[in-house]
Amino acid sequence: MLYSDKVMDHFNHPRNVGVIDDADGIGEVGNPVCGDIMKITLKIDDDKIEDIKFQTLGCGAAIATSSIVTEMARGMSLKDAVAITKKQVAEELDGLPPAKMHCSVLATDGLKVAVDDYLVKHGREPIAGEVKSADPNFDPHADEDDHDHDEA
């Protein structure tokens, strides 16, 4: 199993690590039993992601996918941000080993939960819908087909 140079770069030098103290949206996904937990905090202005930070407990791929998704989402509209797919995340990192594809689900799910958190707090309809990795019984290793919902 080999990581691309880009995965290693984001793992060794993760971008946007931390917590936004007065965050507008917060998303936390994953669970410790699986070994991966990710938290995203957002600063939102005019339905655009002005600032984004993450914290992740997890393997190299989990940290790298978290890092890249913060770069991808920064400046995006909420609508575009929740449309980021695990495939796009993996492609942005020049690929992920098959056994690590679920890590990109964690990253996109974290973002979705944070966006919906913001919307719901402001009395608006959530746009991302349910995410699997927020479920305490989420199995990140389950068959890949289970996650195809976010490629729609």
Partner: protein
């Protein structure tokens, strides 16, 4: 920029070939390359080298007769052959088999196959101390128990099983006893007569020998159905042209291990204690994976649980600094679960994800340990500081 240091701390995974082993093997690649089963001079030379190696290997493990040693392609093959070959001959229509829960997959997988073939298998758990207790095995033994297979030294947590007592108890109920000695051979005393086992498996590359050679000890009279069929080499127990250079190297490697076993095991145990104690002292929320006393640990394996970090992330960060270790986290293996060994001793999955195995050997120095102790704490602290749950899970005294 400095050339990065290269520190190998994964001797339980494999070892470099010792130069003296290499020297012993070399003639059998290009000069004495004959097939040990050929009648002409070249073949006879190879045969003599092979049988000389068998004799020396047999002596090294306390076997009564060289014919009790069957050379194989690897430790896994030896384990497979022991489980499948003994059951097939002793009780071909089925029966009961006991293996421990924390065996190597080379034992667990053939045990699963035996289940498919109609045998009943008991997977015997260790206690929290990482030891298979004789009284627990006695409860599991049945009148129809054909074979018990329990490893000598555990490859992940380094605990040593009371093989002598376990084998004696198995024999009392008429069961045969196999042990996987891949981790302990040469590192701590391993004498088949003293331990009283019927079968034992070994691997060359764990003791500075080459990869691609293993051995299976089968006490005289132990029922065994060959698993690799062909030209009838190895007294019909394992067909296939013998790997003469590998076997010569394996025998040489074992002799070298035995030459300084007592001193080397003391030296490594001291390094293990230093490393373990210092990691626990310098990093909060760390502990050894078992609390068993040092006398029941392999001298060269330190097994640490570093809570609130994920093992693969630690491994990769250490690798950046030239240090090779291993971890039982799920992510490192690409498998579904964290290490079955850690789960078997009651370690919760969220803790097992942060396990770190540091295994030392012949070329490990105290300076290597000091370097490790210098670089590990900042790595762990940085990863913990990136975790969204560290403070929540382990208190805010962090960092």
């Amino acid at each position: 920029m400095d050339t990065p240091r290269r520190i190998y701390f994964d001797y339980a995974a494999t070892t470099p070939v010792d130069q003296r082993v290499m020297d012993a093997m070399m003639p059998y690649f290009m000069e004495d390359y004959g097939n040990a089963n050929s009648l002409y001079a070249l073949g006879r030379d190879a045969y003599r080298a092979l049988e000389d190696a068998r004799e020396r290997f047999a002596k090294g493990i306390g076997a009564t007769h060289p014919s009790e040693i069957t050379f194989t392609g690897c430790g896994t093959e030896s384990d497979n052959a022991a489980l499948l070959g003994i059951t097939a001959r002793k009780s071909p229509k089925g029966g009961h088999v006991i293996v421990s829960k924390f065996e190597h997959h080379a034992v667990l997988e053939p045990a699963h196959l035996l289940e498919k073939r109609g045998y009943e298998v008991t997977y015997l758990g260790p206690r929290e101390d990482g030891i298979i207790h004789v009284e627990d095995m006695v409860v599991a033994l049945r009148d129809d128990t054909v074979l018990v297979s329990i490893m000598h030294g555990n490859n992940e947590i380094g605990t040593i099983q009371p093989i002598k007592e376990l084998a004696a108890a198995a024999h009392e109920r008429g069961a045969l006893f196999h042990t996987d000695g891949a981790q302990t051979l040469g590192k701590i005393p391993f004498d088949v007569a003293e331990l009283g086992v019927d079968a034992a498996s070994f691997s060359g590359h764990k003791i500075y020998g080459p990869k691609g050679v293993g051995a299976l000890y089968l006490k005289r009279g132990t029922p065994f159905e060959p698993q690799i069929l062909g030209g009838g080499q190895e007294s019909k127990k394992r067909s296939g042209t013998q790997n003469v250079p590998g076997i010569v190297g394996f025998a040489k490697a074992l002799e070298l291990m035995l030459e300084d076993q007592a001193e080397e095991s003391l030296r490594l145990a001291a390094l293990r204690e230093k490393l373990t104690n210092a990691v626990i002292e310098r990093l909060e929320n760390t502990e050894q994976s078992t609390t068993v006393d040092p006398a029941h640990r392999m001298p060269n394996i330190a097994s640490l649980l570093i809570k609130g970090v994920e093992g693969e992330a630690m491994l990769l960060q250490l690798d950046n600094l030239g240090i090779a270790v291993s971890t039982g986290s799920a992510c490192s293996s690409g498998s579904l679960e964290p290490s079955h060994v850690l789960l078997s001793i009651g370690c919760p999955p969220e803790i097992a994800h942060g396990s770190l195995r540091v295994s030392m050997g012949r070329f490990t120095t105290e300076a290597d340990v000091d370097y490790f102790l210098e670089v590990l704490p900042p790595i762990v602290e940085r990863l913990r500081s990136m975790s969204p749950v560290y403070d929540r899970m382990f208190g805010s005294s962090a960092r």
